[in-house]
Every structure is written in structure tokens, then in C-alpha cells.
Amino acid sequence: MMCEDCGIRPAKFHLMTIINGDRVERNLCPTCMAKHQKQIPGIDFSNLAGILNSILENRGSRESERDDAEYEALVCEQCGMTYAEFHKCGMLGCANCYQAFKTPLNALLQRVHGNTQHAGRVPGGVHSGTSIRMNIDRLKQMLQKAIKDEEYEQAAKLRDTIRALSIQLDRKESDIKVRPHERLENNGEGADDNV
């Protein structure tokens, strides 16, 4: 089971808190657990989580840890970060790490986000229908390639994303057509320091 806070590290703690009389239960990794505990005034738990973590780390019996162990030796040629190092600190060393750790990262991103395909804006696109249209075009090309390579699972995912983006684009365009005066009003009001 993954941590419900960061979604990156395996959960090793079960935290039960009472928030204004309601019981809230969460499964957390040692890092996020330490964050939560730090916020309980008067008690310093930060070390406790560390100690427990080192004990649990030695057991190394969790499934996801075993999976990750296969990749621990991977190294990013650009910044020198190893997958083991990333596993420990939860942060990547440079843009190239994403390529260097592609396989385990893809699995991790799927776990964290439930998805591995970006559906938002792309650089160079304007924050409007343009970026969505550019995305759709790009995804359509990827879809053709996936079909050609007989990667049908990937193709199905791409098709769903294209469909979702098309709906969004339609909504956006009808929005602009239907409410031009509202948009003008909104843009004009207030003295925000828009840049």
C-alpha cells in the first residue's frame, strides 16, 4: 500500500486522528508521518519516525520495495543520481532522470496519478483552446503510431484522452461564444497585478 499523502513511498504507519470530533484514518510513509507529527505541539516525534523507519527499512519485505530493488542500481548519466538515492529522498536530480529511470518511474506515476499521459498545456501554447488543439493533434499522431505498433492498450488510453480533450475544447469554444460580454467584464474589473 502506498502513502496516502505523497503517494510515492510505501505506507508504513497508520495514523488515526480526531479532527473536531471526527475520526480520520490514513496510511502514511515515514516522511509524511514525521510531517504530521511535527504539527502536534509540544512533542518531538521527528526522530521517532526516523528510528522506526530504519528498523522497517531493514526488514525490506514489502512487495513494492522488492520491485524497486531491481532498479536501485540505475544511474542517471547527466547528474549522477541513482534510483536508490531517488527512492530515499523522493526527488529527482535533473530532467534526464526521467529518461534514466523511465520504467520504474512510469509505474510510480501510474500509482500516484492513476495515469501516465499528460493532458494539460504544452509549452508555447497559449492558455486557451490553442494548447488543447495542439495536444489533440499530437495525441492523434501517437495514436496512429500505437495502432501501427499494435499497442492496443496504449491506443485505447490515447483514444480516451483525445475524446476528453475534444469535449473540453467544445466546452471552451461554446463558452467563448456564449459569454463574450462576461469575459470582457471579468477582464476589466479589479486592479490585480496580472503580468
Partner: protein, 341 residues
């Protein structure tokens, strides 16, 4: 008769914030960031931001050059994240004069753009952050991958790199023991809700933060849309709860809430924790029309009497007792002025 302008849904939604995480594609990320590279991040960003249309409205604040109270004050006013202070030696922030746009530098990612507005205004907050993002990317490209989107130091932000959130004041729902159920429902929508202050044991001041969880696989518009929808539902629920409590016994509700006003008007020592309870009560009272105080003023005052902000105001290091005295004094004076407006 007095009047003041309320932001959308401000009776329940205190503020809306959108943060975008970006990294320069040719520089190492946080764990491998040397002092030279972090300086390069600051130089590039400052240069690019100052060259934007309203660039002159920004002030650069290097965290290493600020006193501890001044840093805390920025966190308390939501201008920077608490995490920015983890990297005090290298981190900086560019803050716009109106305080609605901030650029954080050398936090977990090279650059984090933030748009912050009162009430429920997620779309406009996002537009503010995205506008800066677009202006900067033309000068120095950000790390981007066609499959994974914007590449961030922590994979939890990969994709849009966008965290959108609202701060909610939910006294009636909290009192009715409904927050547990709300938290369970919210999780199913890919959103997360937590206490804003005093996390771990209780949500002080009945303040909660609702934000998106995933950043990969959903567009910016989609996330903003979902979060706004969920917020609107919570707002409706909180309002109907407040109304039903009023309907049940208005006098008792007024009595309970207005006693907090009395405490604030006459107390000589006020702890931060007690203040949050009283603030929640008078904000609730003001939203119901029992107390004629402007909500935006109450919210600003709430941030102004947090520990760091008090220290900045005192202009020196103060003891816990001194800060309790100062907090009580500021509250007496400024609340009086707020109702007199």
C-alpha cells in the same frame, strides 16, 4: 449603513490559490542544485520577470536576508510556502505589490508561480499564474516531456505541475461532526482536504484546505473545474447547516458567537490558539449578519496576529507573554476600527 465588497462565496471561502511548478531544462533539480546553479535560477527568473509587462511591481526577497519573523510573516500571509524555508540559504521570492502573485525560487522546484485571490476565484488565480508561466518560458525553456508534461523534482507534481487549493471556513459542518464524511467523499474525487492550522489533532479556527491530488492525466481546466464544483457543493452545505442551526435557536447561536466578540474586546492576554477559536466565532457571526464587521478585514487581521507577523510588528524578538499582550492589544484596537467603518 455601511457596505463592503465581498469576493465570490467569501462567507465560506477565504481564499483561492494556484501554484505551478517549473524547472529550467538545462539546470540540475533541487537535490543536485549547487550554490552556483541556484544563483543562476534566481538571475534568470528575476531578469525574465522584471521584463514582463508588470514586472516592475515585483520585489525580490532573498530568504537568507530576512529575519526569521519576516519569513514567518510571508508564510502566514500565504505569500510563500512553508517549504521555501527549508532551503533558506538559496531560496528567494518575488512578491507583487498587491500580494496576489508570487514567484518562489529554489524551493523544491526551480520556479513556482502562485496566484492568490480572496473568495472562490480559482480560474482567475490560475490565469494569473499561467500568464507568468507563458511569459517566462519564451526566454528560458522549462523541462517538459510530451508524455509526462512538465518535469518536476518530485514525481507527485509531474504533468501540469499545478496545485490548486481553497481555504474553507466550515464552523457549522465541523460542529455537526461532518468533516470525516466530507474527507472520505472528497478523496474519491481525486481531491484532498486537511486542517489548515493545528493539523494532526484538530483544525484550528475550523479552517480547512481543499486541493487537487493528481497532476498527471488531467488538464488545468479540468482540475480547476472539478475543484470549483466540489467547493461550491461544500459552500452550499455549510450555508444550509448554518441556516438550520439558526432556525433551531437563533438566540442561543448569537449568544455563543457574540461571547467571543466580548472576549476579544476585553481580553488582555490572547494566545494564538484561543484567538483562532474566537476568530472562527466572530467570522461566523459576521457571515450571519449578527456582527457588522467586514469579512475581508477579519481575515487580514487573522493573519496579522499570527506569531511571525506579530514579531515583525513589534520590530524585535518578543517573549510568548509579550506576544499574547500585543495580540490582545492589536485585536482590541483593530476590531473596534473594523466595526466603526
Amino acid at each position: 449603513m455601511y457596505e463592503y465588497v465581498l469576493a465570490p462565496e467569501q462567507d465560506v471561502v477565504i481564499s483561492s490559490r494556484v501554484r505551478l511548478s517549473r524547472n529550467y531544462e538545462d539546470l540540475p533539480f533541487s537535490p543536485k542544485l549547487t550554490p552556483e546553479y541556484s544563483e543562476e535560477v534566481i538571475e534568470r527568473t528575476v531578469d525574465a520577470v522584471f521584463k514582463t509587462e508588470n514586472g516592475s511591481a515585483f520585489t525580490l526577497l532573498r530568504m537568507s536576508e530576512l529575519e526569521e519573523d519576516a519569513r514567518s510573516r510571508l508564510v502566514e500571509h500565504h505569500l510563500i510556502s512553508y517549504d521555501l524555508l527549508k532551503f533558506v540559504n538559496r531560496s528567494a521570492a518575488m512578491v507583487s505589490s498587491a500580494g496576489t502573485v508570487t514567484v518562489m525560487l529554489n524551493e523544491e522546484d526551480h520556479v513556482r508561480f502562485q496566484g492568490l485571490l480572496p473568495g472562490l476565484q480559482l480560474e482567475r488565480s490560475a490565469e494569473m499564474a499561467l500568464k507568468l508561466d507563458e511569459a517566462l518560458e519564451t526566454r528560458y525553456p522549462f523541462a517538459f516531456d510530451h508524455q509526462w508534461g512538465f518535469l518536476t523534482a518530485c514525481p507527485a507534481n509531474t504533468g501540469t505541475g499545478m496545485r490548486a487549493s481553497v481555504i474553507l471556513h466550515l464552523p457549522a459542518m465541523s460542529a455537526n461532526g461532518q468533516m470525516g464524511a466530507v474527507m472520505q467523499t472528497i478523496a474519491k474525487l481525486g481531491l484532498t482536504i486537511r486542517g489548515l492550522y493545528g493539523e494532526g489533532s484538530e483544525a484550528q479556527g475550523h479552517l480547512y484546505q481543499l486541493s487537487n491530488q493528481a497532476t498527471l492525466g488531467r488538464s488545468e481546466e479540468d482540475v480547476i473545474h472539478a475543484l470549483t464544483g466540489a467547493t461550491n457543493q461544500i459552500v452550499e452545505h455549510e450555508r444550509s447547516m448554518r441556516e438550520s442551526v439558526e432556525k433551531k435557536d437563533m438566540l442561543q447561536l448569537q449568544d455563543r458567537l457574540m461571547r467571543s466578540w466580548g472576549e476579544l474586546m476585553y481580553a488582555r492576554l490572547m494566545t494564538a490558539k484561543e484567538f483562532m477559536t474566537r476568530y472562527s466565532d466572530i467570522r461566523y457571526a459576521a457571515s450571519m449578519g449578527y456582527l457588522h464587521a467586514p469579512l475581508p478585514g477579519l481575515d487580514t487581521l487573522m493573519m496579522d496576529v499570527q506569531p511571525g507577523s506579530l514579531g515583525v510588528r513589534a520590530g524585535k524578538l518578543i517573549s510568548p507573554r509579550e506576544s499574547e499582550i500585543l495580540r490582545a492589544k492589536i485585536l482590541r484596537e483593530e476590531l473596534q476600527a473594523l466595526v466603526a467603518e
